[in-house]
């Protein structure tokens, strides 16, 4: 048997703790507590094993990764191992001293999240008073440090109209890149879907705003659309167990951040086995790898190695079986589940992300 290609990138979810409470958080509904978190030695071992396997980039994320006092130590080690280090942060815990320590540790890049361009909109999503001001301060510190910065905006029904102002803010803060990422509907996002999902008109307007900004040049733009309005599924994570590996705060190794909803499988943990052993041989990583597992219609489809069957967690969440066709695909017998959702987006209250 030939071994799978090693992963390109590793998402290290150092903690689920976070001062914000965004209702579309990509963390699972069942959040892990501080007492369950891997210790520094555990994360050091993960980084060493990742570099040895061929991982190229490590994304330190959370929760809020700056809630971990060993962040600087882990960034230092990752750089020493020649891993590209990216910090994904809300910025609310960042100050000049902490940034200086990260800079000296060799941090390569920072992705700073904004919930909106208006204070009111941002605080309604994040649930934290004063967060916007702290984020703006963090952005100016990062700008002054010279560390390359991406601004990340998750967009949804309530803020999608302000995409042009998001680009203005990115240019004002001299961010080299901007991510305009429509909410993806898993976990908290799915729980709040009927309050977040944009209309087709809103989606089209947002796409026009992105194209207009791209035409101006000078800003790298990543644009992620909500697949509910599509008729072909997205190539989720570039294929299950093909390019990407996620490690939860407690050391669970997952093919994506939502995969803990998959039933009837043991989640392998770096406390018990090596990362390479898990990536290559675990049942979880081999469940939906490649094309063998696919339903008949997917296996016969000429897009099978383009979208890799779409998203398993979406198939599970909307149809009850992770091995079903992704219901986003118009050829799926469950496609109506997605179409129905487009007509029920009338809720106004959020369920905030809390422990």
């Amino acid at each position: 048997m030939t071994l799978p290609q090693p992963p390109m990138s590793l998402l290290a979810e150092l903690t689920h703790r976070c001062p914000l409470a965004c209702p579309y958080c990509s963390n699972p509904l069942d959040l892990e507590r501080k007492s369950a978190e891997l210790d520094t030695a555990g994360w050091r071992r993960v980084l060493e094993q990742a570099a040895e396997m061929g991982v190229l980039q490590v994304h330190f994320s959370g929760g809020e990764p700056m809630a971990r006092p060993d962040l600087v130590e882990l960034v230092t080690l990752a750089r020493k191992l020649n891993l590209y280090t990216n910090l994904i942060t809300s910025g609310v815990l960042l100050d000049a001293n902490k940034l200086d320590a990260l800079d000296k540790a060799g941090l390569d890049h920072i992705q700073l999240s904004f919930q909106d361009v208006t204070e009111e909109g941002a605080e309604r999503i994040g649930g934290l008073k004063g967060a916007q001001e702290r984020k703006l301060k963090a952005a100016r510190l990062i700008q002054a440090s010279g560390i390359p910065m991406t601004l990340n905006f998750v967009v949804h029904r309530e803020n999608v109209a302000r995409i042009p102002q998001m680009f203005e803010l990115a240019r004002e803060l001299k961010a080299g890149r901007v991510e305009i990422a429509h909410t993806q509907y898993y976990g908290w996002g799915l729980k709040n879907r009927d309050a977040l999902l944009p209309s087709r008109e809103q989606l089209e307007e947002s796409t026009r705003a992105v194209e207009a900004e791209r035409a101006k040049g000078g800003l790298a733009i990543d644009y992620v659309t909500p697949d509910y309005h599509a008729d072909r599924p997205k190539p989720c994570m570039g294929g299950w167990g093909q390019r990407f590996v996620n490690i939860s705060p407690s050391g669970r190794v997952l093919p994506c951040h939502a995969a803990e909803i998959i039933p009837n499988v043991t989640f392998p943990n770096v406390r018990d086995e090596s990362l390479a052993e898990i990536w290559n041989n675990s049942r979880l990583f081999n469940m939906f790898r490649g094309t063998e597992w696919m339903p008949e219609a997917c296996r016969a489809c000429d897009r099978r190695e383009i979208d890799w069957g779409g998203c398993r967690c979406q198939a599970l969440a909307l149809t009850g079986d992770a091995a079903n066709m992704d219901p986003v695909c118009s050829r799926s017998p469950f496609h109506e589940k997605v179409e129905q959702a487009l007509y029920t987006n009338t809720v106004e209250d959020f369920v905030y992300r809390r422990m």
């Binding site: 390109m8 980039q57 560390i147």
Partner: protein, 91 residues
Amino acid sequence: MSVTEDTVLSFARGHRLQQDLVRDLWLVQAPEKAFIIEGAAPHILGLVDGERTVSSIIETLTGQFSAPREVISADVLALLSDLTEKGVLRA
């Protein structure tokens, strides 16, 4: 700006050349992506150090490879101009 033989280039912050020993190839690491470089590109970028001029890079490569200077010079200027325009390198 346009790259000439007098230009001195370095990698922009957040970008670096890296040998991938596991996959046996050369990469440029960049924010949220890495791209593979092939052929003469790793040799050329290996000489980008913030001190050498482009002309000195061309001289060094002319000493190492059998191709005529004008061929090497055209390749070097094309690659370095392209990567400068993309923000990977800067003067």
